[in-house]
Symmetry: C2
Subunit: 386 residues, 2 copies
Amino acid sequence: MLDFMYYNPVRVHFGKNALEALPGELSRFGKKVLLVYGGGSIKRTGLYDRIVSALRESGKEIFELGGVMPNPRAEKVYEGIELCKREGIDLLLAVGGGSTIDCAKAIAVGARTDRDFWEAFFKNWEEAHDAIPLGVVLTIPATGSELDKSAVITNMATHEKNGYDSERTYPQFSILDPTLTYTLPKHQMVNGIVDTISHLYELYISPPDEECLTDALAEACLRTEIDAARRAVIDPEDYDARANLMWTSSFALCGMLNNGKKTDWESHNIEHPISALYDVAHGAGLAVVHPAYLDYILPYAVPRLKRLAVNVWGVDPQGKTDEEIARAGVAATRDFFHALGAPVTLGELGLGEEAVDPIADLTDLSCFSYQPIAREDVVAILRSAL
Amino acid sequence: MLDFMYYNPVRVHFGKNALEALPGELSRFGKKVLLVYGGGSIKRTGLYDRIVSALRESGKEIFELGGVMPNPRAEKVYEGIELCKREGIDLLLAVGGGSTIDCAKAIAVGARTDRDFWEAFFKNWEEAHDAIPLGVVLTIPATGSELDKSAVITNMATHEKNGYDSERTYPQFSILDPTLTYTLPKHQMVNGIVDTISHLYELYISPPDEECLTDALAEACLRTEIDAARRAVIDPEDYDARANLMWTSSFALCGMLNNGKKTDWESHNIEHPISALYDVAHGAGLAVVHPAYLDYILPYAVPRLKRLAVNVWGVDPQGKTDEEIARAGVAATRDFFHALGAPVTLGELGLGEEAVDPIADLTDLSCFSYQPIAREDVVAILRSAL
């Protein structure tokens, strides 16, 4: 087990009645609240009205920043920063999924500095010394952003999709009501499931290989996520299935599953330029990239992928070599994504050979675990997924 | 899954080099530090000298409160409160196990009120509005106190062993170095293992029974703890085994395993008067009480105890009734405690029939899950363990 530091101060309110905690949380912060949200689905579902009522009853002055898109853009962050500085916003309330939350995190630190937010934080990883407090009402279980400190922003001007984190970017509170996900379109639910499994893989499929609690917890998360996904696809209003999907995706990134592990983020690194260049949903890109990446590095990670195959996917090891068992686990992953309706080839994303070089050019390789890879490996991985 | 609220702001530094984080943590707090510790083993092992050096190098003024005993007493808390008030202590640094940490937590809140700490907090559960910040260097993995907000104090004057918790009693930081446990006497290690398994049982063996992430995480903890215990008994300096024991006992009580569960603390409730009346180590008392309690409530909890037997103890369900499978899991628990060298009867604690009524009289039944029990049930449970 590697040495680690763990710290996560987010207050989580989870369940059917979680929104009832909102007034209590609001009472801890100042009067001016900026509501940050996405494409407007929260207006159709009535959630917007419920939140605005709670804000009014709490005596808040409400400001709005709507229209945050998937793969949130730097432009929207600049717009939010300007609004916050002009109005002296006391609290950001992000209502939505990871894109909305990430955008709000970038605004939170960007609005409390005179420096350019992209240059200071997302390019040069300077320490943020202050931030506007952030609260979250989650509607899409996927990125774990509601329980972690990291944010990913896309800068279309430079075709960069960069991340940043700081203790300042932890939400002060996150409200997680699984019933809010009942109305989520199936493809968004599936993208969230793929993203969650991908996060769990990045954490689990990495050294050290000695028995450790963190690995056992990750396997528990994977089995729960897979089981809940199968049930939620059949019955979108299966409360326990939805609750498990929501809580597993959040728990996956709370930091507990990093403890004592090296971790591996190369699949995410390869996917980021796919989203940045072609505006593909992050989960859809990961469904293509992650199994292809695992097949490629498999010779260097046989014991770990064998363990995944047996403990998570229930592969019967009888009569198979270790490598065959490991391959069966990766195949089970791809089959599972496919059965959920996720794309598993670049072709299904509408991309062909012409996309391989541009994606490889922009892939920022940095976080391998079992085997370092280079540009030519990325090209080979992408070609294997055409 | 039941609704829940989760919040835990403790900073954890874990590993072989965790003590290197102490100066950085100390820099966040004022000059006057009260070192709280137990019977002096930290002086024999050299830990005391390392900590005093770090405190001096950080420019701290050092005060001391040693001699905190197992089942920490109200008298020691009063002594600490008086010292803190007199000297204006800025930080409590508890170095030891759960008794030392719990004593420091009670001092932390007691020193920042004019009310009597026992009356206000441990009798009447008033809200603590202030507390002296608390840091921890853990030497005994067992109670989880280093990662939770609760404290248990014994008042010998009234034969009460009461608990209290508040967001004010979370440690600000906890330093967990598994190598510090290498020198722990075997009986203390075993008591810690029993206590940890007992905590995991109290959380896991409770409704609801629907699939939920929390149950899967608890099973992962139990399997890890059992495996690590078997290895640490053979080789006390098996680092990974010691690290898993330490982190599992902390994680068990961080709050994550309460999420969505009713939880059941009746075994702890029955054990507390055993410690309070006969000064028995908490883990030793639990090794006797917990299997006896489970055997007694088994008819009301067959599906859950069957799941425990199969998923945690690897009981082969073939050819057995559900109740037989469930009984085999409880028997495996008792056998495991026995194999570690823990007592599994009241006789092994030096107690007989004469102890049954006094223990039952002082048992504060309050937290059942599957089946409420009354005084006569406690008597029957204790008699079954004679």
